[in-house]
C-alpha cells in the first residue's frame, strides 16, 4: 500500500510547481476566512475601548482586505486545482497507454478471462485517480499549513493555547477520519459487494427477461431483486449513521476547541499574560481555522478508493510483455510461405496445452483452411502467427526463417487479419478505413470499399464517408462491419491474409456477398482461413482439421 502511494505520488511529481501554487491558494483561502473573522473581532474589541478612529483604521483595512481576498483566492484556487486535475488526467492516460501498449493484447486478455469489463474498469479507475490531487492530496496539505501557522501564532501568546488548539485540530483532522474509516471500512466493502450482487440480479432480470417470462419466473426474479434492494438500503442506512456521526464529531470538536481556548485565554487575561482585546479574535480564529480539517474524513475515504484504483492499474502495467522484439530483427522476407513444425503451446505453464505437436505447410499464394470445433486452439494459431504470444516448443517459419527473429511490428505490416473481433472506432467511416494506410487518397479508399462491396452502402448514408460509426452515430450490422474490415485489409494490401471466422456471424445472404468480396482479394495472397463451418471452404487448396489437443 505504501509502495502504491509512493508510485502514485511519483505520477503527480511533474506538476509540483502547480500543486504548490494550488496549495498556497488553498491556504490563502482558509487564511482569508480566518483573517476576516479575526480582524473583525479585533476591530469590534478595539472599538469597544473607544480609541481614536486612526487606531481602528488598520483593522478596518484588514477587514476589507480579507473580505475581498477570500473570494478571489477561492476562485484562483479552484482554477489552478482544476488545471492540475486535467493535466493529471492527460498524463495518466498517456502514461497508462504507453505502459499497456507493449502488453496488448496478450497481458490484457489474460487478466480479462473472468470479466469482460476490464477496460471499462481501467477507464473509471483513471477517472478516480484524476481527482487524486483535488480530493486526496490537497486537503491534508492545506490543513497542515493552516495548523502550523496558527500554532505559531497562538504559541506567540502562550504555549498552552497553542497546545490546546493543536490537540483539537489533530483530533478533528486525524482522529475523526480514522474513526470514521474504522467504522465504515467493512461497511463500505459490504456495500460494494451488495451493490454488485444487486447489479448482477438486475442484469439477469433485464437481459434474461424473455426467458424469465417464457418460463413464468418473472415474479421470483422481482422478489430476489427486491430482497437485495432492501439489504443494500439497510447497509446504506448504517453508512448514513457513520457519516452523521463523523460530521457531528467534527463540529463538536471545533466548538469545544473554541470553548477551551476561551477558558484558557480568560485565565491568561486574568493573570495579565494576555491583553483582553485578543479574547474575541482568538475565539473566532479557532472556529474559522477548522474549515481546513472538516473535509479530511472525506479525503481519507477518497484516499482508499484512489489507492485501490492505482493498485489495479499498477498491477496491469507491471506485467512483463508476452513477446520481446529481437534486438536485431531480420528484414522482412521476399517469400511468404509459412511452415509450422511440431508446434506446442500453452498460455501459461501451469495450464494444459492448447496446441500439441502441430505441423502444417502453407506455401506462398496458396490457401489453407483450419477447421475444428470451438476451443481446439484455432485462434491460438493466429495469436502465435501475429506474435501476440510467443511459442517455445516447435517452429514457425516464415520465408524459411524463424518467426521469432522478426520484430512483431514488421510482421504486422505484412499480415492482414479479418476477424469477428475487428474493432471499428467511434469516428468516421473514412478514418476507420484510413487506419490501414493513413496516406491513402480518397480514390484509393473508394476503390477498396468497392472491392469490399460496401461502397454503395456508404454512399447511401447521409454523410457518406464522413458518417460516424458507433454510439453517437451509425449502428452497423455484422455484415457491414465485416465488409468495412475487409475494405481496411484491401487498403492495407498485405501479402499474407488471415480470415479468422470472418463470416461466422452473418446470415446466409450477407455471407454470400462477403465471400464474393473476399474471393477476388485472396488471389495471389498466402491465405489462412480459420473456421468452424464448412461454408467458406470452396476455393481452398488444403483443409486441416483440428480435433482437440494431441492431434494432427
Amino acid at each position: 500500500m505504501k509502495n502504491t502511494l509512493l508510485r502514485l505520488l511519483g505520477l503527480v511529481v511533474p506538476f509540483k510547481g502547480w500543486i504548490a501554487l494550488a496549495i498556497l491558494l488553498g491556504v490563502a483561502t482558509v487564511g482569508s476566512g480566518v483573517g476576516l473573522l479575526t480582524t473583525s473581532a479585533y476591530l469590534i474589541s478595539a472599538a469597544a475601548l473607544h480609541p481614536s478612529v486612526a487606531v481602528l483604521s488598520v483593522a478596518i483595512v484588514g477587514v476589507r482586505f480579507f473580505g475581498i481576498t477570500r473570494g478571489i483566492f477561492r476562485y484562483l484556487e479552484r482554477y489552478v486545482s482544476h488545471m492540475v486535475t486535467f493535466k493529471l488526467l492527460a498524463r495518466l492516460r498517456v502514461w497508462f497507454y504507453q505502459a499497456v501498449e507493449p502488453l496488448a493484447p496478450a497481458r490484457l486478455l489474460e487478466k480479462n478471462y473472468h470479466s469482460g469489463n476490464l477496460l471499462g474498469r481501467v477507464v473509471s479507475d483513471i477517472e478516480t485517480l484524476q481527482e487524486f490531487y483535488v480530493r486526496v492530496l490537497a486537503p491534508p496539505l492545506v490543513a497542515v499549513v493552516v495548523g502550523v501557522v496558527l500554532w505559531f501564532w497562538f504559541g506567540a501568546y502562550e504555549a498552552t493555547l497553542a497546545l490546546t488548539f493543536l490537540t483539537f485540530f489533530i483530533l478533528a483532522g486525524v482522529g475523526v477520519p480514522v474513526l470514521a474509516y474504522i467504522l465504515s471500512r467493512k461497511l463500505g466493502q459490504d456495500i460494494i459487494s451488495q451493490r454488485s450482487e444487486l447489479a448482477v440480479e438486475i442484469v439477469d432480470g433485464i437481459q434474461g427477461m424473455a426467458d424469465l417470462l417464457a418460463f413464468g419466473q418473472e415474479h421470483q426474479q422481482a422478489a430476489r431483486i427486491e430482497k437485495l434492494n432492501r439489504q443494500l438500503l439497510k447497509l446504506q442506512r448504517r453508512q448514513a449513521w457513520v457519516k452523521g456521526l463523523q460530521e457531528s464529531l467534527g463540529n463538536i470538536l471545533m466548538n469545544l476547541a473554541a470553548w477551551s481556548m476561551f477558558i484558557i485565554a480568560s485565565g491568561l487575561v486574568r493573570d495579565n499574560k494576555l491583553e483582553p482585546i485578543y479574547l474575541a479574535p482568538i475565539l473566532l480564529a479557532t472556529l474559522a481555522s477548522f474549515e481546513a480539517v472538516l473535509p479530511l474524513p472525506l479525503a481519507m475515504q477518497n484516499l482508499s478508493s484512489c489507492l485501490e484504483a492505482a493498485r489495479r492499474l499498477f498491477e496491469l502495467v507491471d506485467a512483463k510483455p508476452a513477446v520481446v522484439s529481437p534486438a536485431n530483427p531480420l528484414p522482412l522476407p521476399n517469400n511468404y510461405s509459412l511452415s509450422v513444425k511440431n508446434l506446442s503451446f500453452a498460455y501459461q505453464s501451469d495450464q494444459p496445452l492448447v496446441l500439441n505437436n502441430l505441423s502444417f505447410e502453407l506455401s506462398q499464394g496458396h490457401t489453407l483452411a483450419i477447421v475444428g470445433t470451438s476451443g481446439v486452439g484455432k485462434s491460438t494459431i493466429v495469436n502465435l502467427l501475429l506474435r501476440f504470444w510467443d511459442y517455445n516448443q516447435g517452429q514457425i517459419l516464415l520465408g524459411g526463417q524463424e518467426l521469432r527473429d522478426y520484430s512483431p511490428d514488421d510482421l504486422h505490416k505484412i499480415i492482414s487479419v479479418i476477424s469477428q473481433t475487428t474493432h471499428l472506432f467511434n469516428t468516421s467511416i473514412r478514418e476507420n478505413i484510413l487506419l490501414a494506410r493513413p496516406a491513402a487518397t480518397q480514390d484509393e479508399i473508394e476503390s477498396a470499399a468497392r472491392q469490399a462491396q460496401i461502397h454503395n452502402f456508404i454512399q447511401s448514408l447521409p454523410q457518406g464517408y464522413d458518417t460516424r460509426i458507433g454510439e453517437q452515430g451509425l449502428r452497423l450490422s455484422g455484415g457491414e462491419r465485416q465488409r468495412l474490415a475487409i475494405a481496411r485489409a484491401i487498403l492495407k494490401d498485405a501479402p499474407i491474409l488471415i480470415l479468422d471466422e470472418a463470416t461466422s456471424n452473418l446470415d446466409a445472404l450477407t455471407e454470400h456477398e462477403v465471400l464474393l468480396a473476399l474471393e477476388k482479394f485472396q488471389q495471389g495472397r498466402t491465405t489462412l482461413i480459420i473456421t468452424h463451418r464448412p461454408v467458406e471452404l470452396e476455393k481452398v487448396d488444403e483443409i486441416l482439421v483440428l480435433k482437440g489437443v494431441a492431434q494432427c
Binding site: 482569508s32 476566512g33 476576516l36 473583525s40 473581532a41 469590534i44 469597544a48 477587514v63 473580505g67 473570494g71 476562485y75 482554477y79 482544476h82 488545471m83 486535467f86 488526467l89 498517456v94 497507454y97 504507453q98 501498449e101 469482460g116 477496460l119 483513471i126 448482477v200 440480479e201 432480470g205 433485464i206 437481459q207 426467458d211 417470462l213 417464457a214 418460463f215 413464468g216 431483486i225 434492494n229 438500503l233 446504506q236 442506512r237 448514513a240 449513521w241 460530521e247 457531528s248 470553548w259 476561551f262 479574547l279 474575541a280 475565539l283 499480415i415 492482414s416 471499428l424 472506432f425 467511434n426 461466422s504 456471424n505 446466409a508 468452424h532 463451418r533 464448412p534 461454408v535 471452404l537
Partner: protein
C-alpha cells in the same frame, strides 16, 4: 432544478421525513442563535465586565449543551435525510422493475438493456444526493437565515438591513452568472465523458491498432486530445467558477461591511459590545446555509437528471393489459391447434407494419417452419405468439379459444421456447435448467439434461450440476448454452413449442447433438420453428416464407425449392456449398 413530479409521486410519502427535517432545521436555527448569544455574553463578561470563569460558568455550561444539541441535530438530520432517500430509492427500484416486466422483452432487449440496468442501479442511486443532501439543505437554507435575520433585526436594525439587502443579491447573482455557466459546465462534463469514451474506444481497439501498425501513434493523439480538452474546458470553467466567486465575495464582503459598520458605531457608543459581537457571530451563519446549498447543488443535479430518465420508463405506455388472473391456464392435455388469423403488428413509433395479415395454422403435433431474411418479422411473430407483443389486428387461436382468453403469464405456461440466444443466469447449471420448473428434483433436471444431450458436458464441468455459470463461473460455448436451453424445454414439457434457432457459432459436434435433441423434443409437440437451417426445414411439415412482414410463399421443402423466389435465395447458396462439403 426540479425533480420530475411522476418520480415524486412514485416515491411515496416522503413528506413525513421532510416535516421532521424542517422541525430539526428550526431547532438548529434556534441553537445557532443561542450559541451566538451565549458566546457574545461570555466574551463580553471576560473582556469588558471582568467576570471570573466561575461567574461565567453557567453560561459556559449552557454553551456545552448547545454544542451537544447542534451535533445531535445534525446527526439526526443526516439519518432522517437518509431515510427519505431510502424510501424513494427502494420504492422506485421496485416499481421500475415491475414496469419493465410489464413492458416486456420487446422493450428491454438489445442495446437498451445496458442503459436500463444503469438506470435501475446508478440512476436510482443518483436520487440519493437529491433526497438526503439537497432537499434537507433547501429547508435549512430557508429556515436558518430567516431565524438569524430575525435575531439580527431584534438586536440591531442597521445590520439586519445589510443582511436583508445582501441576501437576495446572492441568489440573484448566482442565478445570473451561475445558470448560464452551470449549463456550460454541464456540457463540458458531458464532453469529459465523451473523452473517456474515446479512451475506452482506443483501449478496446488496441489489438486492431497494433495489427495496422498505428498503436504507437495513438500515444501522441491521446495526449493531444486530452490537452486540447483541458484548454477548452478551462476557458469554460473560468466563467463557471465566477458563480463561486460571487458567492464568496457576497458572503465575505457583507460580513466585512457589517464588521466595519458595527465597529464604527461601537466606537461612538451607538451599540453595545455584546450586541455588536452577537451580530458579528451571526453574520457568517446567515450565509453558511446558502453556500452549503451551492456545494450540494451537484448532488441534486445528478438526481434531477436521473429522475427524468426514470419518469420516462414509468410513463412508457404498456403494450397490453394483463388484468386476467394467472391462475387460469390453458389445458395442457389434448391436441393443440394453433391458428393465426389476420394477425398484424406494428411497433410503437413505427409507421410500417412489421407483420401484415398473417394467417396460417399448425395442426396438432405438426412442425411448421418460418423462414425469411433478417428483418422479415420472423422473431416478431414468435414474440406475438408468446404474447410479449399484442397484435394490432387479428387474433391467435388455440383450438377454439382466442389466446387472449388467458392472461399472458397463464398462456405462457402452455408454451416452451428455445430462443436464439438463451440467457444463462449467474447461477448453477442445475438452477439454470430449473428455470423451467423451480420445484424440479435433481433427478428430473438430470433427466432433462440427458434428453437434451447436455448431461455429458455438464459432468465435465468443475462442479458438475453445481457449477456456477457466468462472470463468476464457467463460460459456456454457444452450443452448450443451446443444449441447456433445450433441457429447460424438456423439463417444462408443454404441448406447444417454439424453436428460434441460432444460425451460427455452432461447430459440427454441437450441431449434431443439438439436432438430435431437437428432433426428440419436437416429437408429438405442436411446433413453430424459426430457422435458417436446411436440415430442420427439410423435416418441417409446412414452410412459410416471410418477407417484409408478409407470407409470400408456402409449401414443403421440395415444392418450395422448385419455385423461384426468396426461399431459393435464402437456402440456395447454402445448399450448394453444403453439397460440396458433404
Amino acid at each position: 432544478m426540479k425533480l420530475d413530479k411522476r418520480v415524486l409521486r412514485e416515491a411515496g410519502n416522503v413528506r413525513q421525513y421532510l416535516f421532521i427535517v424542517a422541525g430539526l432545521g428550526t431547532i438548529a436555527g434556534l441553537l445557532v442563535v443561542s450559541q451566538a448569544y451565549l458566546l457574545s455574553q461570555v466574551v463580553n463578561g471576560a473582556f469588558l465586565v471582568g467576570s471570573t470563569i466561575s461567574q461565567l460558568w453557567p453560561l459556559l455550561v449552557g454553551l456545552l449543551v448547545v454544542f451537544v444539541g447542534r451535533s445531535l441535530i445534525s446527526w439526526a438530520s443526516e439519518i432522517v435525510g437518509n431515510r427519505a432517500a431510502e424510501q424513494v430509492k427502494g420504492n422506485l427500484r421496485k416499481s421500475l422493475y415491475q414496469r419493465l416486466l410489464q413492458l416486456g422483452p420487446g422493450y428491454t432487449r438489445g442495446e437498451r438493456s445496458g442503459e436500463l440496468t444503469n438506470t435501475l442501479t446508478s440512476g436510482v442511486e443518483a436520487l440519493d444526493g437529491y433526497f438526503s443532501q439537497y432537499l434537507p439543505q433547501m429547508f435549512l437554507t430557508v429556515i436558518i437565515p430567516l431565524m438569524v435575520l430575525v435575531a439580527t433585526f431584534a438586536t440591531d436594525l442597521l445590520s439586519g438591513i445589510v443582511l436583508l439587502l445582501t441576501a437576495p443579491i446572492l441568489p440573484f447573482f448566482m442565478a445570473l452568472v451561475g445558470w448560464a455557466a452551470e449549463a456550460k459546465a454541464k456540457q463540458q462534463f458531458k464532453s469529459l465523458s465523451l473523452l473517456s469514451a474515446h479512451f475506452l474506444d482506443v483501449l478496446q481497439g488496441l489489438p486492431t491498432l497494433k495489427l495496422l501498425g498505428r498503436s504507437q501513434a495513438q500515444t501522441e493523439i491521446i495526449g493531444r486530445i486530452s490537452e486540447r480538452f483541458r484548454k477548452t474546458t478551462m476557458s469554460v470553467l473560468q466563467v463557471a467558477f465566477l458563480s463561486s466567486l460571487v458567492m464568496e465575495l457576497g458572503a465575505t464582503l457583507s460580513t466585512a461591511i457589517i464588521a466595519v459598520e458595527i465597529g464604527l458605531r461601537l466606537l461612538y457608543s451607538q451599540i453595545s459590545f455584546e450586541a455588536a459581537f452577537f451580530v458579528l457571530l451571526l453574520a457568517p451563519e446567515f450565509y453558511l446555509p446558502i453556500r452549503a446549498l451551492g456545494t450540494k447543488y451537484h448532488a441534486g443535479m445528478a438526481g434531477s437528471g436521473a429522475s427524468k430518465r426514470i419518469a420516462d420508463i414509468l410513463d412508457t405506455p404498456l403494450p397490453n393489459d394483463n388484468t386476467l388472473p394467472v391462475t387460469q391456464v390453458p389445458s395442457k392435455t389434448g391436441p393443440q391447434i394453433i391458428r393465426f388469423e389476420g394477425v398484424s403488428f406494428r411497433y410503437p413509433n413505427q409507421e410500417q407494419l412489421t407483420l401484415e395479415n398473417i394467417t396460417f395454422e399448425i395442426k396438432p403435433g405438426q412442425k411448421v417452419a418460418l423462414v425469411g431474411p433478417t428483418g422479415s418479422g420472423k422473431s416478431t411473430l414468435a414474440s406475438v405468439l408468446l404474447r410479449f407483443n399484442e397484435p394490432y389486428a387479428g387474433q391467435i387461436w388455440q383450438n377454439d379459444n382466442p389466446i387472449t382468453l388467458w392472461s399472458a403469464a397463464g398462456w405462457r405456461k402452455n408454451v416452451a421456447v428455445v430462443p436464439q440466444n438463451p440467457y444463462l443466469f449467474n447461477k448453477s447449471v442445475a438452477d439454470n435448467i430449473r428455470l423451467a420448473k423451480p420445484e424440479a428434483t435433481l433427478e428430473e433436471v438430470v433427466q432433462a439434461a440427458r434428453l437434451a444431450n447436455a448431461h455429458e458436458f455438464i459432468l465435465g464441468l468443475p462442479q458438475g450440476y453445481n457449477t456456477l455459470i457466468g462472470e463468476r463461473g464457467a463460460r459456456l460455448s454457444g452450443g452448450q448454452a443451446q443444449r441447456l436451453s433445450l433441457a429447460r424445454a424438456f423439463l417444462k414439457n408443454t404441448p406447444l413449442l417454439i424453436l428460434d434457432e441460432a444460425t451460427s457459432n455452432l461447430d459440427f459436434e454441437n450441431q449434431a447433438l443439438i439436432m438430435e435433441a431437437t428432433r426428440l423434443l419436437m416429437l408429438d409437440r405442436t411446433t413453430l420453428i424459426i430457422t435458417h437451417r436446411l436440415s430442420t426445414v427439410r423435416d418441417a411439415d409446412q414452410i412459410f416464407v416471410l418477407e417484409n412482414g408478409r407470407i409470400v410463399d408456402f409449401g414443403n421443402h421440395a415444392a418450395l425449392l422448385q419455385t423461384e423466389g426468396v426461399y431459393q435465395d435464402l437456402l440456395g447458396v447454402r445448399s450448394e456449398v453444403r453439397g460440396v462439403a458433404q
